[in-house]
Symmetry: C2
Subunit: 255 residues, 2 copies
């Protein structure tokens, strides 16, 4: 049934069955018509991956709290692209992704399927926000997120975003957030990246693990500084990675 309310497309990378998806629907359902289109299975770490040589299918699930729910056997970006192509009967006014179970602070954004969907929405010219909660424990209450999600979503719905900017919101693990800080991603690198095993034939195999080593933990310009202190962080992100200020320098180097 068409309405005049804004259409909010919700997706994530934890799958259509993730509690964070349902909580995000709960938090924003009063703000518009909500349709959720999310992967049929967990797709953490999928970045902006797309399925280029695979058949994609869509399945409808039981509605949740007034929102239609669909799954796609693909990545978060597949959900945005195929959802807009084959599910939605109008262009979404906003795209929200999450609430992710786990941090997307620091350089994690580049690996994040949650943010892959958000960057895709931004490239389509749709104001898009990713929400991540700093706990992988799905039993942990996400209620601390409500205030942050409601405030940021409603402000963006009222005022929009610059056309090439989307938001990466991270919410610390606490019962109440201290406030919201707009920052940049903390610089760092990953250590202890693999657990090592040996198969029954004596051949090694590996499982990705790792810790993010923040090289600037005391810098209040960064997201992790604030999430470590109980604040939600908001990092404005630009999908286009072209380093336009370096064109002259690289021209000289290659000239």
């Amino acid at each position: 049934m068409p309405t005049n309310r804004p259409l909010i497309l919700i997706t994530n990378d934890d799958s259509v069955f993730a509690p964070g998806l349902h909580l995000l629907i709960d938090y924003v359902k009063s703000m518009g018509d909500v349709v959720a289109i999310a992967p049929d299975a967990p797709h953490s770490g999928q970045s902006s991956a797309i399925s280029v040589n695979k058949v994609l299918q869509i399945n409808r699930h039981e509605d949740y709290n007034g929102a239609a729910i669909y799954s796609v056997n693909g990545t978060p970006v597949d959900c945005v692209k195929l959802g807009m192509h084959a599910v939605l009967d109008r262009r979404p006014d906003f795209i929200l992704s999450g609430i992710n179970h786990g941090s997307n602070s620091g350089n994690s954004i580049i690996y994040s399927g949650t943010m892959g969907a958000v960057l895709e929405g931004c490239m389509l010219g749709i104001p898009s926000i990713g929400y991540s909660f700093h706990s992988h424990n799905q039993a942990y209450s996400l209620e601390a997120c409500r205030e942050v999600v409601e405030k940021i979503t409603s402000r963006v719905m009222e005022q929009g975003l610059p056309s090439d900017i989307c938001l990466n919101v991270n919410i610390p693990k606490c019962s109440k957030v201290e406030g919201i800080k707009v920052t940049r991603a903390a610089r760092g690198f990953w250590t202890e990246e693999y657990a090592e095993y040996v198969d029954p034939h004596g051949k090694p195999f590996y499982w990705l693990t790792g810790k993010f080593h923040n090289v600037e933990p005391d810098n209040p310009e960064t997201d992790l500084y604030w999430t470590d202190r109980g604040y939600a962080s908001v990092v404005p992100c630009r999908p286009d990675q072209s380093a336009v200020n370096e064109i002259g320098l690289i021209s000289d180097l290659l000239g």
Copy 2:
């Protein structure tokens, strides 16, 4: 056998069996010690995806033209991370990815597994370059690429790159390139994104396709302007997508 020559790690997203990988080895083998670690199967469109819940294994293949060759059952970023963890006995001095069979111009970089590996190398502080050739036809000669690859690789090996910058090089389909232009990614969007089918039970399914619609085809600041005119394009790229110049504006919006 340790040497004093620079160590060049080569990877790609078209797999260890792709002709472009072997050509890249041919072009740079005189410049250093070369080890190739690439996916065991094609991984186009994998962006910066990582395998978070999957066992990774490494297999050694027959050497090619003096280079040791390994495959990983994962993504291009997995190849860089696991290769550095478990294959290489020293930190690579340079990472090269490609030569990709197909364009990574415009906003394709965000989906590109070729460039996912390059962005990963850059985040590790290693000068990294992605090479893509504008033809999916693997029978098409890639010899036109030799001059471009040799020139850019040797310059970067002599002079390095700024620590947070990597290069996305695109080479047009032609027998000889006109020159090299340092640019930014052309803005645009994808159209006609899915071929549609119906399964034997009457249920639709989809296969990703699509054309990039360049919204600024006459802009000489962009990569596609030059590749359309027979030049190789070089886009300096920054992995960190934080839009630091927008922090004030977004703070006001959320304040």
